[in-house]
């Protein structure tokens, strides 16, 4: 096999893996958008917030330690214990549910019936608020995140030796694929299947789809809109937590984590805002597209770092020809 082709295939595979992570974030967007028509810009910050909370709980940090120290002149930082990963994840899920409830109660309950763009701007405000709260609560420094089931059984890091060896033996060139990316892909697949099963076969899932179809009709057959919206925000919070764990384990928990939300936007535009399969396919297209573009055109001819804008440009061009995305419902407008 010629070397150039082997490189290209490797880049393609890595793009697929990156795309899975984009798709994970995009999933959270789709969930909220389908059920409430809110385009949740804060999804990325929710992932950051969830990851920071998880690390904070694991390490036994005192919440708002810096603020407390500044106000009262004390010097507290840690409780002095560490929490097992599973318990910490459970506690973080509870925090995310509380957050979902608060967001619904204090913000979006008061904005029902507003124009979508107003809701969008409200979520930008929410993103700033959450980011500030997360920094105040746990401190803004870079944190390492690792989730361990037991001693020594953690999320794997580094390159996968088996794939490296197998491909080396088969093609004479070892593919470099990150273990973590493989785990992330499996987790994403399980998550998607789980969400689809939940939406199809449980009572709450059916109610959720009913709300997505028609708010008023759902209300008239006795579905509690308030409950469904809290449920949906909690689910999005859970997806954010999973995305936060994966991205956090990959590159540390820091502010840039919230920027993956921006990367998820073009994914949504490609896939359509209302389609779960669309989010996955869109994520893969963007992931592969930007890696291949960088490898084949960006780095040799344009000076590199084209990953910053390629996804948006692709989405932009795509939208001009198909405004509703790949799998979105056709937009019909009437006066």
């Amino acid at each position: 096999m010629p070397e150039q082709l082997a490189y290209t295939i490797e880049v393609f595979l890595n793009g697929l893996m990156a795309g899975v992570l984009y798709a994970l974030v995009a999933l959270g967007f789709v969930l909220i958008y389908k059920a409430s028509g809110i385009f949740n810009y804060a999804q990325g910050v929710m992932a950051l917030f969830a990851a920071m909370t998880l690390v904070g709980i694991q390490n036994g940090q005192v919440p708002f330690a810096h603020l407390i120290n500044a106000i009262f002149g004390t010097d507290v930082h840690k409780f002095g214990w560490t929490v097992h990963s599973f318990l910490a994840i459970l506690l973080t899920v509870i925090v995310m549910i509380a957050l979902a409830w608060a967001v619904q109660k204090f913000v979006f309950k008061h904005l029902v019936g507003q124009e979508p763009i107003i809701l969008f701007m409200a979520t930008i405000g929410l993103a700033y608020f959450l980011e500030g709260v997360a920094d105040l609560m746990w401190g803004s420094e870079l944190k390492a995140l690792n989730v361990c089931a037991a001693d020594g059984v953690c999320l794997p890091q580094g390159l996968n030796m088996w794939i490296d060896e197998t491909t080396f033996n088969a093609f004479g060139y070892g593919f470099f694929i990150d273990n973590l990316d493989i785990v992330a892909s499996i987790v994403a697949a399980i998550l998607v299947i789980g969400l689809v099963m939940f939406a199809q076969y449980t009572k709450q899932g059916r109610a959720m789809r009913a709300v997505a179809d028609d708010h008023q009709a759902a209300l008239s057959v006795g579905v509690s809109l308030n409950f469904i919206w809290v449920l949906v925000w909690s689910l999005a919070g859970f997806v954010a937590l999973v995305a936060g764990i994966m991205w956090g384990a990959k590159s540390g928990v820091q502010f840039s984590l919230s920027l993956i939300a921006l990367k998820a936007l073009p994914v949504l535009m490609l896939g359509g805002f209302t389609s779960i399969p669309g989010a996955i396919v869109g994520g893969l297209i963007i992931g592969v597209g930007e890696k291949l573009f960088e490898f084949l055109i960006g780095a040799p001819f344009l000076g590199g770092a084209t990953e910053n804008w390629f996804a948006y440009m692709l989405a932009l061009l795509f939208l001009v020809f198909r405004p509703q995305g790949l799998f979105g419902e056709k937009i019909i407008e009437r006066v």
Binding site: A70, A122, Y128, A305
Partner: protein, 358 residues
């Protein structure tokens, strides 16, 4: 008692159509202009100019520009930072290529170049709407910042990758570079701010502005009654980008002096200006000023209270600022979607009837 139309007789069409038909408003406007032109330049010092007045004047221009696009024409843009960068780099290239031409012309040309770029990125708005468009303008933001970072021609092959404003004067008075005096930089920005406000105000109450508002309220209906959406949207993008480009040029040349594009014109700048018009009031020129003033003042106030009085570390105050800004955005959207401008309108309405509200 003072604020009412009674007794204010208008005998000509010009009087009837003036911007401030009520006497009290008019005199207040003249008073503000008088203070800004004849008092402030003589009492200003470096601290006031650099921490409050210059950013206020410059952001006010950017906010007016974005308000035309978002508030009047209803096309949400998240590319403000990128367009400001176009203004800044255009101004820099013009300043270094033609050192003898007046700075006024450079700034205006920088605005014109930004307008052209704005129209280019405004083209997709003909096909896509709402937050699809908002995301599409993100393409402009990231692409433009990348462009200015990657191609050395834009920063004249300087080793640091920064652009530095060379010293330039207007009528013999230095206005850029480290030797510029506070009053001169202030006066230069003030001229552009007043000019922008007057032009924007008159555009928005004329036929162009009405077309923009028709598009904003319902584009299909507007099209049916004969508004050309292509021209309306693209003029909104052009005018808006012009103002944003002017503010970007001033931001670089007068206020900062040296700029690194990713830092000065990143996505946070786009959000800052968007927040200004949300808090100030969508679709209001006064709101652009109020929002700019509010968001320029807030960090300074927080710093004075938090760091200087209470002695808190600066990073906590910075985080607190995020929380407060975010909460305010949500609060304004929930309680008063039309921002400070609407509060002001309500106050004036009350004043009209005061002290006998029935």
């Amino acid at each position: 008692m003072f604020y009412r139309e009674a007794g204010d007789f208008r005998t000509t069409y010009a009087e009837d159509q003036q911007t401030f038909p009520i006497k009290f408003d008019r005199y207040r406007y003249y008073l503000v202009l008088f203070i800004a032109i004849c008092v402030v330049p003589f009492v200003i010092n470096d601290y006031w100019a650099n921490s409050l007045l210059l950013p206020f004047l410059i952001y006010a221009i950017a906010a007016i520009g974005l308000n035309i696009l978002v508030g009047y024409c209803g096309q949400v843009s998240l590319g403000t930072g990128g367009f400001m960068a176009v203004g800044a780099y255009a101004c820099y290239k013009l300043m270094t290529a033609m050192p003898d031409v007046s700075m006024f012309i450079h700034v205006l040309l920088a605005g014109a170049i930004t307008a052209a770029v704005g129209v280019l990125f405004g083209l997709p708005s003909l096909r896509i709407k709402g937050f699809y468009l908002a995301v599409a303008t993100l393409a402009a933001q990231f692409f433009l910042v990348w462009l200015f970072n990657r191609f050395p021609w834009f920063y004249n092959y300087s080793a640091s990758g920064q652009i530095n404003a060379p010293e330039r004067d207007v009528f013999g008075i230095v206005i850029t570079g480290p030797n510029a005096e506070a009053w001169a930089t202030y006066a230069f920005c003030l001229i552009f701010t007043i000019f922008s406000a007057i032009v924007a105000r008159n555009l928005t109450r004329g036929s162009v502005g009405r077309k923009w508002m028709a598009i904003r309220d319902m584009d299909i209906a507007a099209e049916i009654i004969g508004v050309n959406p292509l021209r309306a949207k693209l003029t909104a993008f052009a005018v808006s980008s012009f103002f944003i480009g002017v503010s970007g040029a001033l931001f670089f040349a007068i206020y900062l002096g040296a700029v690194e594009v990713g830092e000065a014109f990143g996505i946070t700048k786009s959000f800052l200006v968007l927040f200004m018009i949300i808090i100030g009031g969508l679709g209001s020129i006064f709101g652009s000023f109020a929002g700019a003033a509010f968001l320029v003042l807030l960090p300074v106030m927080l710093k004075v209270v938090g760091v200087d009085w209470l002695g808190w570390p600066t990073d906590i105050v910075a985080h607190l600022q995020l929380v407060i800004v975010g909460a305010l955005i949500v609060l304004f959207l929930v309680a008063e979607p039309h921002g400070i401008a609407q509060l002001w309108r309500v106050a004036k309405e009350k004043l009209r009837l005061w002290p006998f509200p029935h």
